[in-house]
Amino acid sequence: MKIYTITFIIFLTISKLFSQNISISASNQLKAGSGYEIGGVYLHKNKKNYFDNISDFRLFLPNTAIGFRLEYANPPEFGLKFVGIRDVFVDYVKDNFNIRAGYINDLFARGLSLNLFRKRELAFDSGIEGLRIGYEGKFISGKVIGGDLNFVDPTNIFINNPITENYKIRGLNLEIRPITYLLIGGNFVHTEGFIPSPISTLDSIEANIPEIYLKSKISDFDFFISYAIKRTLQKNSSTKKGSGLYSSFSYAGEKIGLTIEYKDYRFDIVNPIKRADVFRPTRALPFQNPPTVHKEHSFTLLQRFPHVVDFNDEVGLQLDAFFSITNSTTLNTNFSLASRHFDYEKGLNPLEFNQKRLGIDWLPSLDRKRSPFWEIYFDIEHFYDDADSYVRLGLNRRSKIFYENLGFYVSDLSLRTLTLPAEIQHRWNSYLVTKLTSESQWVFEYTDDKKYYNHLVGLSGNLFSKLTVGFRYEKTTSKYEPEGRKDWFVVEFGYRFGMANSIIINYGRERGGKVCTQGICREILPYNGLRLNINTNL
């Protein structure tokens, strides 16, 4: 308690003493819930109460921002319990220079060698505690970064003693713009890490990740390509080399916007047995997070059954286009395809595998032995004169095959879904706006011959731009739900005070499932109960 008191006193004293030049900003987010989750090996109902309060304080001086977060997550909604002060930083910007000390999120190019970010809803945080010095010039820019990362993978936070990986990270980024249309960049990241794997005894690593990239923009065309090599050194072991390539090409016209992306991630291609060890020290490290190269959706049912990107062994492409049919109607189409690079055949003994080439390894394949994923999506959006009224209709077809040959058995899980989402929002008069959502989904897990149908309906109304009342109902014909349930419902009430403060209360039964954002995935357990969210900005 003492530390909070001292920090607040210092903070407020500074602000009062230098009130002419200093301003304070604070925001608070409180999330609390009371109910139960269905989880664990025997799918028991477990009481779930949580209380997460985050207060962010910012102190702005001329050219300088100072900030910290006061967190009370006890018990947390997800992630680890924490009570105290974190994310302290000082940010100084003067002319073309910037210096930041303390908590840092950063990105080099598209994240092949370094992408430090936080996703609280997934309990993912790869931000470091350290120092960054940057320069932004017209022809040249660059930054150096150094710090420590203590990383807990969101997939193991639920075990009794979560595994914490420690890294010392040093990075350098340099960009040169020799002519207006061209930018050439390079990064070098060095890390010394400790990864306490429950399987491997080699837990100390040293890795070097050099990267080179090129960016060009000519008229309405954009081109980007980046290539990174990762060399991992371990004691008493040979150097392991992996690589990653990402490229994008886009055209931005008045009527058509087109983007083609390509990925070839080979940071750690290993046989199925080694692949099962998710803590292997040679894998892509948690601060490497390149583009996923497939679409992330906003409709609820489309967020189910996500494709989990394997940054160690995946090749794929994506084509995304926006067509502006009229000034108020836009069509979005998306196609993505991805697969592993190789097949593995069993050797003479159960632990032996032979890598087998199936087709061109630098192109994705539909061969089931390469675990293919593909998705096609259309969505049309029409806004009426007033942006408060719109219609959005979508169509999605998705297929993924998870082929695993572990020597003892062959597992070939295939899943196909067809989803039709729709959303209609209408302004009736100056104070009432309603929104209707309907999502239909047909699921085929054809190896096990499982077929079922999911449907979600939502209706909400907003009054005077302040009060929101909503209802969501979901049903399934699936017999395979962990809790054996066939339907779920949630009622929601929200009220906004002023423009920056809001309260949301919802109550009901929520369906669980896997959620992924930016290639980071987490399993959400079914939850029954009450949730309260209060957001405040001062």
Binding site: N53, D91, P291, D320
Partner: protein
């Protein structure tokens, strides 16, 4: 008991910050635009007030706000108000942002904050998140949601800030 003391302390502090009615000044920042050029906030503040709107492709209310901002920008094209739409999509979507923006024919500048550095520095937590900054760099209004009907309140804010300049 500790929890009660802790939260009482937070709310008293927040209340103190609020009641002191301090002027909140935004620090300068430099971001890359979707045209590949670098822009700093100070450049725009020299012209007049700035409305900063953080958004992402997946955020549907943000897209409604951008539609409204497009028509607001047209209404105020001869007035010295700048609208800056700051995209916080992660690097996975950066390539698509430009093609989306061009087909929507947005008439305001779109900047990129791909790892949400600026968003977090300015205490952003959820999208949509927007700030209205006057010519002296003082934050006049913060908005942490975009509900139907908010277009009118943005227009009122713009009129008020322009009146204060005169």
């Amino acid at each position: 008991m500790k929890r009660i003391i802790f939260f009482t302390f937070i709310f008293v502090t927040l209340y103190n910050i609020n009641s002191s009615a301090q002027i909140k000044t935004i620090p300068n920042f430099m971001l890359e635009g979707i045209d590949g050029k670098k822009y700093s906030l100070h450049e725009f503040l020299k012209e007049g007030p700035v409305y900063l709107c953080f958004w992402a492709l997946w955020c549907i209310p943000c897209r409604a706000e951008l539609k409204d901002l497009n028509s607001i920008q047209t209404m105020y094209k001869d007035k010295k108000v700048t609208i800056l739409a700051i995209n916080i999509d992660s690097p996975k979507s950066t390539a698509k942002v430009r093609s989306y923006v061009s087909t929507q024919k947005f008439n305001f500048k779109v900047l990129l904050d791909p790892n949400s550095n600026l968003f977090e520095t300015l205490s952003g937590k959820n999208l949509p998140y927007s700030l209205l900054v006057n010519q002296n760099g003082e934050i006049i209004k913060t908005r942490n949601s975009y509900l139907p009907g908010d277009k009118q309140s943005i227009i009122e804010d713009f009129d008020q800030i322009l009146k204060s300049i005169k």
